[in-house]
Amino acid sequence: MSKALLYDATMCIGCKQCEGACAQQNKLPYDDQVAAESVQSEHKYTVVLAKDDKFMRRLCMHCEHPACASVCPVGAFHKTKEGPVVYDVWKCIGCRYCMVSCAFAQPKYEWKSLNPRVRKCIMCPDRVVAGKATACAEICPTGATKFGERDDLVKEAQDRIRQNPSTYLPRIYGMNEVGGTCVLILSSVNVEEYGYPASAKIGDTPMPEYTGRVMEKVPDFIPVWSLVLGGIYWVSHRREEVAAAEAEHKNGSKR
């Protein structure tokens, strides 16, 4: 059973306390200037976006089948059984394949550093393992960000939609997108307006499957292709040996 976050945009008041708590938890600088930044970056893992009088939070989605973990050549990312997708900086070689592969464009890079790290929300793994809520969920004054079991949160989201069909769009973003994520979003407007990728575009297929379909053939391909190549070598050189042997034979019979 994995943990998850349910973010209900209709309950969000845009106080940005989650941003501050996140910064504190991850020992990042946070002041008015950072608070005013409306993009995620290597020093801002989560951001509350405002449009008209509505708000939307962005953070790593903690996919059930994370692309970043599947593409990393050294396995610096992995999905924990509790839900968070975490990063082991000591393994990282800095290829940035995680950044290009993430459908939600979540991993950010320390471009100015001489020993750069990939930065993203890691869902407070220490707290989660200890049975506590994430920093952002704990501080949220309205309960817009709620921490819990993923299955329970999905049920709760469905209940909220059922009880207030006029408030919500009838969808839970993250329930099936790219095979399901551990951040679920409820809102009255389309999340796509805030920069989230369209559900239709990213689809429900877990991202690792796209490369997995090819990668799973490699172990079979290696012996088959070696055999084919070896066979070609044998045939093309054999012809010569036969020709030589025949020539020799001819010479022999002439004598």
Partner: protein, 393 residues
């Protein structure tokens, strides 16, 4: 020895000086200072050109080794050595390029201990590492021959069939896997270039470019080193190139046809212009040229056709890696001059090393100072000797 400052030497020195400055910026001020790469564009010119195109341009090695040693097409033998040299240098420089691009290049060896077999990048990395080793052994006889060390040549000859099969196997894997890298970005890469067929297209283009590069470098070195041009060999390669281009064109057409994209690719758009440029350079011009027998038989024609092919497929790979992401990201990416200068420095180093190798090693038999006891059997099939021995009986 007198050092004469020619035009090209000055160009070389300027490129090297700028490149060294950029190298300094890279390692003392970081990736952000030297490049225009951002969180939106984490892969820039160095991945697009140095890695994707670099590996493609080095494909001549496995193509020619395959033709000459695997299929035993003896008459192409004279181009194997330069092709293997180009490939060996190409892969070495590819690794140098990686050391610039990786954020933490000092951990590049982590690849060997923290393996993730699900990662395409891991597969590419391992293949490139292994193939560079194979190329080293394929290249080594040049050095042994230079110093008349016959015994080690014999050892390498004994394992040659294994080296050949291994080299082609590894090339097949990583040339196609460079395309597979992009399979995980269906929502980001523009549909003109995102296709499940990417690994096939990358492998196909590697073969076409391998042939074109072999024609290019043979002609170029004939000019540069004043050596005699083996026209029949080039003509044969030109014919193979024409076939390879047709196969590639057909693959591209079928891909667009099956994905129902034919209507879209003819509509003008930002991406369409780049696609048209790519298709014109890679297919339209060289296929038209090579279809004329007159062109196919002339060194100039073959040279030009091969240049168009190479430029066309470079455009293709830059489209896959850069142009194809611009709509998703919402803005353009133009490399900083320091990024260009690092790339140029690496290319210039490649040319210089090629020149040095040709000068001091028996790459082209008719260029180097003749080594008296050069192995005569080198170019002949192993079994030919006994035949000759018995001929006198």
């Amino acid at each position: 020895m007198k050092f004469k400052l020619t035009f090209w030497k000055i160009v070389f020195l300027v490129i090297m000086a700028l490149g060294l400055y950029s190298t300094f910026v890279r390692y003392f001020y970081g990736l952000g200072a030297i490049s225009n790469m951002t969180d939106q564009f984490p892969w820039g010119l160095w991945i697009g050109f140095d890695c994707l195109c670099g590996v493609m341009l080095a494909a001549g090695g496995f193509c020619m080794v395959g033709a000459v040693y695997l299929f035993n097409i003896e008459r192409l033998h004279s181009v194997v050595r330069p092709a293997v040299l180009t490939a060996f240098l190409g892969y070495l420089l590819f690794i140098v390029g990686l050391l610039f691009d990786l954020g933490r290049p000092w951990y590049i060896w982590h690849q060997l201990i923290y393996m993730n077999p699900h990662s395409v990048m891991f597969e590419v990395g391992m293949c490139v590492m292994a193939y560079t080793t194979v190329l080293f052994f394929e290249f080594l006889p040049n050095v042994f021959e230079r110093f008349n060390l016959l015994t080690p040549i014999k050892w390498i000859k004994r394992i040659y069939p294994v080296l050949i099969v291994l080299g082609i196997l590894l090339s097949t894997l990583h040339q196609s896997s460079l395309g597979s890298l992009y399979l995980i970005m269906p929502s980001k890469l523009h549909p003109f270039w995102y296709t499940p067929a990417l690994p096939f297209l990358f492998f196909g283009s590697a073969i076409a470019v391998g042939l074109a590069m072999t024609i290019f470098e043979s002609t170029q070195s004939a000019k540069a080193f004043g050596r005699h041009l083996e026209l029949p060999v080039l003509v044969e390669l030109g014919g193979a190139l024409l076939v390879a281009l047709w196969v590639n064109a057909l693959l591209r057409f079928e891909d667009y046809f099956h994905r129902g994209m034919l209507g879209q690719i003819i509509k003008p758009s930002y991406e369409a212009y780049f696609l048209w440029l790519e298709l014109t350079l890679a297919f339209l011009i060289p296929i038209t040229m090579l279809s004329f027998k007159k062109v196919r038989l002339s060194p100039q024609g073959l040279y030009l056709a091969s240049i168009f092919t190479v430029l066309g497929f470079i455009t293709n790979r830059l489209n896959v890696s850069l142009t194809g992401f611009e709509t998703y990201v919402g803005h353009h990416y133009l490399p900083k001059w320091t990024e260009f200068s690092v790339t140029l420095m690496i290319i210039a180093a490649g040319f210089a090393l090629f020149g040095l190798a040709v000068k001091y090693l028996p790459i082209f038999p008719d260029v180097q100072v003749p080594v008296k006891d050069r192995l005569q059997t080198e170019t002949r099939p192993v079994v030919a000797t006994p035949v000759l021995e018995h001929a006198g009986d």
